[in-house]
Structure formats: structure tokens, C-alpha cells
């Protein structure tokens, strides 16, 4: 927690638009990446990012500096995104059931292997195709680096369920990414 954060928060509370823009510019990229990957939709992520910063502006009076401004905004964004996903899919568990049915089918034996270096754009596209439940767990764990206990707390699921969702996501991504690998790239590997 830095004194800069407290000072920025104080200026925002006092209606300093430049201070709030500084906060936005510093954190919007990370939060937009998180929201885009969690929702699988850049369009939804834009609306959510707007909501998060408007909410943040309203709630800055409650920011006491126990954590950094970035962590505070991150928590706000994750919670807001999960509300959105719950509203959209009714229950996250339902959306992951479809994956249970497929159980992240193993790639066909004849399918080409993945290259050691996966292109970011391919991975972004594949993440967007994951079912919402395991996508959220995967993004929080493998992209954002939260441990399973933290993922469980964020998603309201047990640590074991978080592990299982991340596993399913990884297996599903294998299938999706094999479809995304250009043949020429494979031949070069």
C-alpha cells in the first residue's frame, strides 16, 4: 500500500477528475484483460470495466488503504464479473456440467501435438471458447496466478472444485489449441 494510492483516493473523493483518470489509466489494462478472459467477450468486458470504475468512484469513500488500490480494484472487478456471469448463466455449475459430459475429450490420436510455444492470440481465442465455470477458474489460477484456495474463495467453490475446474480447462484447451495450430507451424516444429 503506497502513500500515492491514498493520496490518489483522497483526490478522487474530492472530485479531482485528473486523479481518477490516473487511476483508470494505471489499472484499466490489467482489469480489462481479466474481464475479457473471464467473460470470453470483449464487448461484455467493456461494459463491465465501465461499471467497475463507476462503482469504484462511488465506493472510494470506503477505501481505507488496507490493500493497494490495484488489489482493491481487482477484487471489485472479480466480484462484479462473477455477478455478471451468475446472472448470465444462472448458475456457474450448470455451465460446467456441459464440460463434465464431454469431460474434455482426449485429442484424437492422429491429432498433431502442440508446439512448445503457443501463440498468445491462439490461447486467447481458445480461452474464450471454454465454458464459463472452468474458464473463470483457469483465468484466475493459470493467468492471474491465484492459488486454488484463493480461486475457491473468489468463485465460492471449494479448493477441490477449483482444482478440478482448472484441470478440465487445461484438458479442453489442449483440444481447442490443436485445432488452432497452423499446419505450417507444426511442420516447422
Amino acid at each position: 500500500m503506497s502513500a500515492d494510492d491514498l493520496e490518489l483516493a483522497r483526490r478522487c473523493r474530492e472530485g479531482d477528475a485528473a486523479a481518477f483518470e490516473t487511476v483508470y489509466r494505471a489499472h484499466a489494462g490489467r482489469l480489462f484483460g481479466l474481464l475479457t478472459r473471464m467473460t470470453g467477450s470483449a464487448h461484455d468486458a467493456e461494459d463491465l470495466l465501465q461499471d467497475v470504475f463507476v462503482q469504484a468512484h462511488r465506493k472510494l469513500a470506503g477505501f481505507r488503504g488496507e490493500s493497494s488500490l490495484g488489489t482493491w480494484l481487482y477484487r471489485l472487478a472479480v466480484n462484479h464479473c462473477l455477478d455478471h456471469l451468475r446472472g448470465k448463466h444462472s448458475r456457474m455449475a450448470r455451465s460446467t456440467d456441459s464440460l463434465d459430459a464431454e469431460d474434455a475429450a482426449e485429442p484424437a490420436a492422429a491429432a498433431p501435438a502442440l508446439p512448445e510455444a503457443i501463440a498468445r492470440i491462439d490461447l486467447e481465442r481458445a480461452i474464450a471458447q471454454l465454458p464459463a465455470g472452468c474458464r473463470a477458474a483457469f483465468v484466475l489460477h493459470d493467468v492471474e496466478g491465484l492459488d486454488h484456495r484463493e480461486v475457491g474463495e473468489a468463485l465460492g467453490i471449494s479448493e477441490g472444485t477449483s482444482k478440478s475446474q482448472v484441470h478440465k480447462a487445461r484438458m479442453k484447451l489442449r483440444v481447442l489449441l490443436r485445432g488452432a495450430v497452423p499446419r505450417s507451424a507444426l511442420e516447422a516444429v
Binding site: E21, A28, F32, R58, L114
Partner: protein, 235 residues
């Protein structure tokens, strides 16, 4: 991994994530390593998942389109005058007062009393910019908090009974709003646990509790709107 410390392809899949995340025990790691040294198919699986995991860690922030900031800025500017009135998100003006249940009305009275108690306490706080409440204000805060909390407890049952009568969208919206408010209540309580006399945190908590009372009232009233009115049932 297994009792006999051997690893099969199926068991490797089960233990793969712990292995790659570095959370597998020493013996499990040794068993997997031994299996990978002899298996013809599992090394490819491990390499692929390791590649996915590695690529995920390299994903970078994504800059949002420029117009998102313009929208945020415009809404914040619009929001400024509205905040002064401190209205709850779902105003009762938007719903039918006809449907307001007696319990909601009683809780509304509690809301007014609690608010007045707190306003009185705030007026008693001496200087502008003071962040720590005086002893009287401190006591009044707890009276107001108790009034709100009592109102919430009494309204919660009625709101729980009312929710199934709402359509799915309204129900989800209300639930989401309650979650937001509960988050704010939790944050304020956490802050007060660390600094009980902080006037700003006290105000935040009472604001959040007041919003929850209003929203629970709205829930009860909205459910009334979804029910046919008595005169409609018996024309």
C-alpha cells in the same frame, strides 16, 4: 499417488496438475518421473499442459478501447449530483407503494429513526475533517447500527418469502445488488474492526445497512406488484 508408489497413465492424468503446479508430494513426483521415463505417450501430455500453463502466465494486460474511459468519465460526472441525495439503487418511487407490506412500513420507520439518530450523532462531531467520532457519537452509532440490523433481520424473512414470486431477471438484479451491499457492509465492518472509532467507516457502514433495508423493502414491495391485487382477484 498410489499405495505401491507406481504410476499409470490414468493416475498421471489425475496427478498431473499437482505435478506441474509443484504441489505434488516428493513420492508422487518420483513416481510420475519414473512413469514418464518409460511411457511413450504421457511425456507429450505433460509437455502440452506445461506449454499451456506457461503461455497463460505470459498473457498481458489488454488496453480497452478509448471510448470506455469517455463513458466512465461521463457517467461519473452525471453521478456526482445524484450521489448527494444518497438514494438507494432501486427507489421505492419506481415501484408500487400499494404493495408495501406492513413489515416493510415498520422497517421504514426504523430506517428513519436510525438515520435521524445517526445524523444527530454526526452533527455532534466537532470539527470538519475530523475522522474519529466522539464518545456520544460512538454510542449513537451503535444504536443506529442496531436499529438497522434489527430491521434487516425482520425484513429478511419477508424478502426471502417474496423472492420466488419475482421474475428471474428482477430476482437476479436484486440478488446482485444485495451481494454488492453485503460486500460494502463487510468492508466497512472490517475497517471498523481495525479502527472502531473511525467516523468515515461508521458512516459507510450505516449507508450500506440503510441501502440494504431499502432494497429488502423494495424486494417485498416488488413481489406485491407481481401478485394480482385483491380487487383484481375478485372483480
Amino acid at each position: 499417488m498410489t499405495d505401491d508408489r507406481t504410476c499409470t497413465c490414468g493416475r498421471l492424468v489425475d496427478a498431473l496438475d499437482d505435478y506441474l503446479d509443484g504441489t505434488a508430494g516428493t513420492s508422487a513426483r518420483a513416481a510420475i518421473d519414473a512413469h514418464l521415463a518409460t511411457c511413450t505417450s504421457c511425456p507429450a501430455l505433460v509437455a502440452e499442459v506445461r506449454a499451456i500453463r506457461g503461455a497463460a502466465r505470459t498473457l498481458e494486460p489488454i488496453e480497452p478501447p478509448a471510448d470506455v474511459w469517455r463513458r466512465v468519465h461521463a457517467e461519473v460526472q452525471r453521478d456526482a449530483p445524484a450521489r448527494a441525495s444518497r438514494r438507494p439503487r432501486l427507489g421505492l418511487s419506481r415501484i408500487g407503494w400499494r404493495a408495501l407490506q406492513p413489515i416493510g412500513a415498520v422497517a421504514g420507520l426504523v430506517l428513519v429513526v436510525a438515520s435521524l439518530t445517526w445524523v444527530g450523532a454526526r452533527l455532534a462531531v466537532p470539527a470538519a475533517g475530523t475522522v474519529t467520532a466522539g464518545a456520544d457519537a460512538f454510542a449513537d452509532f451503535y444504536v443506529a447500527e442496531a436499529e438497522y440490523t434489527d430491521a434487516i433481520v425482520r425484513l429478511q424473512d419477508a424478502a426471502d418469502a417474496a423472492t420466488p414470486r419475482l421474475d428471474a431477471f428482477t430476482s437476479a438484479t436484486l440478488e446482485s445488488s444485495i451481494d454488492d451491499i453485503d460486500l460494502a457492509i463487510g468492508d466497512a465492518r472490517d475497517a471498523l474492526a481495525r479502527e472502531p472509532g473511525n467516523a468515515l467507516s461508521q458512516e459507510n457502514l450505516l449507508d450500506a445497512l440503510g441501502s440494504k433495508v431499502a432494497l429488502l423493502q423494495d424486494t417485498v414491495a416488488l413481489a406485491g406488484d407481481f401478485d394480482p391485487a385483491p380487487e383484481e382477484q375478485n372483480p
